[in-house]
């Protein structure tokens, strides 16, 4: 029987957690708070870093951790929240290989989502989908939409194991937690 969307996300997080270099950071990773939190129940506590709400700082810290040898898994539960980190994403993480002649190639895994609309609609500051805009702003970062449950594990596996020095943004759909 095929696994469901939520279960595949949990399986992907287990895969990431098994790598000694990964470090999960953001709001509601060590504390409860979002649907994403529930996919981390098997991740060891020492690999979870709860951060203050400071989106740009978080993205810069993710880049810095990657420069220091880690593979940060950085959580932004909605695209609308990731907007507050655009400077670090578009001007730094995306451009770092260019401005360093390929010398700095930080690999960050960014988990974001399109907010669920059913059964509760959170209104218009929580359901944005900026995939296309970010693809234009960040040509050196791969952005993968997680459309189907079977896409999820291979996408995270690619993000983790890739050796091209690229970072990856993985976009999930809040509604699919219940629907797929």
């Amino acid at each position: 029987m095929p696994m469901k969307y939520f279960d595949e996300l949990s399986r992907a997080m287990d895969l990431l957690a098994a790598n000694p270099r990964t470090y999960f950071i953001g709001q509601a990773v060590a504390c409860a708070g979002t649907a994403m939190t529930n996919t981390l129940k098997n991740v060891p506590k020492e690999k979870l870093l709860e951060l203050p709400v400071a989106e740009e700082m978080q993205m810069g810290m993710s880049t810095g951790l990657a420069l220091a040898g880690y593979i940060p898994v950085s959580f932004y539960p909605r695209w609308n929240f990731l907007l507050l980190a655009v400077n670090q994403l578009a001007n730094h993480l995306d451009k770092m290989p260019l401005i360093s002649n390929g010398g700095f190639r930080p690999k960050v895994i960014i988990r974001t989502g399109i907010g669920s609309e059913r059964p509760l609609h959170p209104q218009f500051q929580h359901v944005g989908d900026y995939t296309d805009a970010f693809r234009l702003m960040c040509p050196n970062i791969e952005i993968i939409r997680l459309e189907e449950p079977e896409n999820i594990f291979p996408a995270y596996q690619k993000a983790l194991e890739r050796e091209d020095g690229k970072s990856t943004i993985l976009v999930e759909y809040g509604d699919y937690y219940n629907e797929k």
Binding site: M61, S62, L65, A66, A68, G69
Partner: protein, 207 residues
Amino acid sequence: MSGENKKEWTPQELIAFEERVAALFNAAKIKAPVHLYYGNEEKIIEVFREIEEDDWVLCSWRSHYQCLLKGVPPEKVRDEILGGHSISLCFPEQRVFSSAIVGGVLPIAVGIAMGIKRSGGENRVHCFMGDMTSETGIAHECIKYATNHDLPIRFIVEDNEKSVCTDTREVWKQKTLTYEDGKNPRVVYYKYQTKYPHAGAGVRVQF
């Protein structure tokens, strides 16, 4: 990374390096912006007395002195400047990263420091910024987080009293900068007067 042949720079030698860059820029040999230092040579040399070979140095668009003092060979720095990369000089071998965006390096520096602490490393991060940057929201967030979490990082505020041509204290309506009082042990503060403009070397260059 080898520091065996690392050069000890004097203030006069640093000034001479920037003057050579200024001459090249004014002769239209550099087809990109340059941001030159002057007047802070003794202070920045003093700051570098506490910077070890394995440490990280993060800078803004004005970073020629840091690159030289960290041990990047001067001909390599010059070549990158001539190549148009002065505003974001990066030298991975010497662990130097610079960004041309205000405040851009600060959270990256905090992340590197967090990684060092988590790994049990003994090296440190030194993050340079100007006076206007030191008053931004991202600076306050980063300094607060790094201080409260006891991260192995130092922030160096270099105050030339202006951002491009804007007077930092006047636009914020405050007589002293937030980190000017020296009370935060993670922040080094110094003031200097430069002879160069924000960008370029004082001569209008027609490319």
